[in-house]
Amino acid sequence: MKKKILAAILMAAMVLSAVGCGGGASEEAAAPEAGNAETAETGDTASNDNYIAMVSLGFGHQFWQAVKQGAEEAAAEAGYRITFEGPETETMVDKQVDMLKTALQNNPKAVCMAAIDTESVATILQEAKAEGIPVVGFDAGVGEEESDSKCSTDNLAAGAMAAEHAAELLGEKGKVAVIGHSQTTIDAVQRVDGFIEKIGEYPDIEIVDVQYGEGDQLKSAEIAKSMMTANPDIDLIYTSNEGACVGAYNGLKEGNLIGEVLLIGFDSSAALKQAIRDGEIAGAITQDPIGMGRKTIEIAIKLINGEEVESYYDTGCRWYDATNMDDEDIAPLLYD
């Protein structure tokens, strides 16, 4: 009997602790990573002097982990401590607002933000700015009025770059379909808009279908297959992030369609790189997430020190395929 009670208490403790921190599951997950051994002990207010808060659009994705890596490196070099958190899905606007509010209560020296929804964080960021806390937008979502500076990939230009390479692969003639990953985040929308706009300049290329799979690999796989069923003569599929691209790749593979249709993508991962190396994915656009994280923190520190900064920094993007992915200037931009 005693054993049973003990077991029940242990279970209760486990479950309660999980429920208790349920609201911040991702913060929980972030804690062991973000708070390295040296920074973990400096959590009290007294040593908050060199603290920068980063609130990101997402967390679990490889891209965000790379941004975090760059930011941590830059912060460590300058003797700063950062926190990096983001909601587990890139649609949880309310959760992100809470994260930002909590971060500001810890009196950061600067706040860096990639917003899911521009409007929902505008007031909070303006208040922070009014209190003299520098605001640096990174990646997407933060408007010009709310931020002192911004570091991001020019996603319209990135989409257009993908379109130019698509046109080259197609010989400026053919049918194209698009699998996007979000209809609500600005960067995702711009990647699709930039692509479609540029494709419009090629009269013999037609866009036959545009669908969205939330960056979920399984969904994107199903979408790619149903697109090919509806329009078997599609020549090329453009995908707007890693999940969409690898998902579509798996879908085409299941349908034995690799080679019948060209696939181009966005971002980087171990699976994506391997498929490009094997020639099964024609190529992809990579941003520079490590550089973006680094630049964001560097700008934040400059602002803290009262130095002048530009209002916008394009952290760049590059096309990579089997021929150039090992080049000196491309390889560092690719991550697993």
């Binding site: 049973k4 029940a8 279970m11 209760a12 486990m14 479950v15 999980a18 429920v19 349920g22 599951a25 991702s26 929980e28 997950a29 062991p32 990573e33 967390f59 679990g60 994705h61 490889q62 982990q65 587990e88 899905t89 209809q183 279908d209 669908q211 969205y212 799979g213 979920d216 690999q217 399984l218 796989a221 199903e222 979408i223 297959k225 149903s226 697109m227 069923t229 509806a230 078997p232 690898v246 998902g247 798996n250 593979k253 299941e254 349908g255 991962s269 171990a270 699976a271 391997q274 697993d336």
Partner: protein, 321 residues
């Protein structure tokens, strides 16, 4: 009484079979390639993950409970089997069985929390959802776990069964799981007690049945099937994606409900669940083929869900009168 129940069940089954045929017929007319062999196989393949999850979740639902942890338990079990294979260097088959075991264990803990700690099923499984979501990220280091070292892993789900072109192994896995669930539900004590607990838990207890034990088994079964779904999903993607999983439980419960499993318990059908899952995947596939905007697709699936339950309720009201 029994015959009324039987006939009501039969009539609901008739309704959803008709709905399925209607959906299938509609899309086939709109686009002939919808009814092509390869697209039918695509629809069946797309049913696999959700179908297996829905079969698992049907059992707790029929007891009058719920299991909202199936999506993330699915992710967690394939992350664990992937870790066992890639990091700990286990034999792939043992690693796969370990994944099933992890799923069943999560389910059993759900059952334990519900019966011995008196947590409502919704809360207990919500806690498990959060726990497994977090642990998947922690264990994997927030990176996909790739099975590329195992040359045939992707073939487990996407290979062709007996070399029949386009006929994926995953479909056989789904059929086998469905048949096992059907036998468990219709021809064993487990099924009889599942229904009995859902109809009247106290009466079941008073008639000398160890309700707690059976509930733990039922939730463990749900977890085990989430583990099997994890195998199918990770095999299709050749990797365990630690951030996937949330939202899959909603679709699984929707399939179970469309299939005529009452959320208040005591009623249910395994065949219904499978048809429910087929309705969702054939509908989603058809809407995609017709290039219906993504935002509308979800709304339409929701409408079908409401309609299916409404028709069932309307029948019940009539029968009650």
């Amino acid at each position: 009484m029994k015959s009324i129940l039987k006939s009501r069940e039969a009539s609901h089954k008739l309704i959803i079979v008709c709905a399925f045929i209607l959906i299938f017929g509609f899309f086939s007319v709109m686009n002939p390639s919808y009814a092509s062999y390869s697209n039918i196989m695509t629809i069946l393949l797309a049913t696999c993950v959700n179908g297996i999850l829905a079969l698992g979740v049907s059992f707790p639902v029929i007891t009058g409970g719920i299991d909202i942890s199936v999506g993330t338990v699915m992710t967690f079990s394939c992350v664990m089997s992937g870790t066992a294979f890639t990091v700990w260097g286990w034999n792939i088959w043992i690693a796969i069985l370990f994944g099933f075991f992890v799923g069943a264990l999560c389910g059993a803990i759900n059952g334990f929390a519900i019966t011995k700690m008196y947590l409502p099923p919704f809360i207990a499984t919500m806690a498990m959802q959060m726990i497994t979501k977090g642990l998947s990220l922690v264990v994997s280091g927030i990176k996909p776990v790739y099975f590329s070292e195992c040359s045939f892993y992707q073939k487990i789900a996407t290979g062709e069964f007996l070399g029949i072109p386009g006929f994926y192994n995953a479909i056989i896995i789904l059929i086998v799981v469905a048949v096992i669930c059907y036998i468990l539900f219709s021809h064993t004590l487990l099924g009889r007690y599942t229904l009995a607990i859902g109809s009247n838990q106290e009466a079941t207890r008073l008639s000398g049945i160890n309700v707690d034990k059976w509930k733990i088994i039922i939730y463990a079964l749900s977890g085990l099937l989430a583990g099997v779904a994890g195998l199918v999903m990770s095999s299709r993607l050749n990797s365990a994606q630690p951030s996937l999983g949330t939202g899959y439980e909603t679709e699984a419960i929707a399939a179970a409900v469309i299939g005529g499993n009452s959320l208040s318990g005591g009623e249910g059908s395994i065949v219904g669940t499978i048809i429910g899952a087929l309705i969702i995947s054939s509908l989603t596939n058809g809407l995609r083929i017709m290039a219906v905007p993504t935002e509308l697709q979800s709304a339409i699936v929701g409408l079908v869900l409401a309609l299916a339950v409404f028709l069932d309720q309307a029948k019940k009201m009539k029968a009650g009168r």
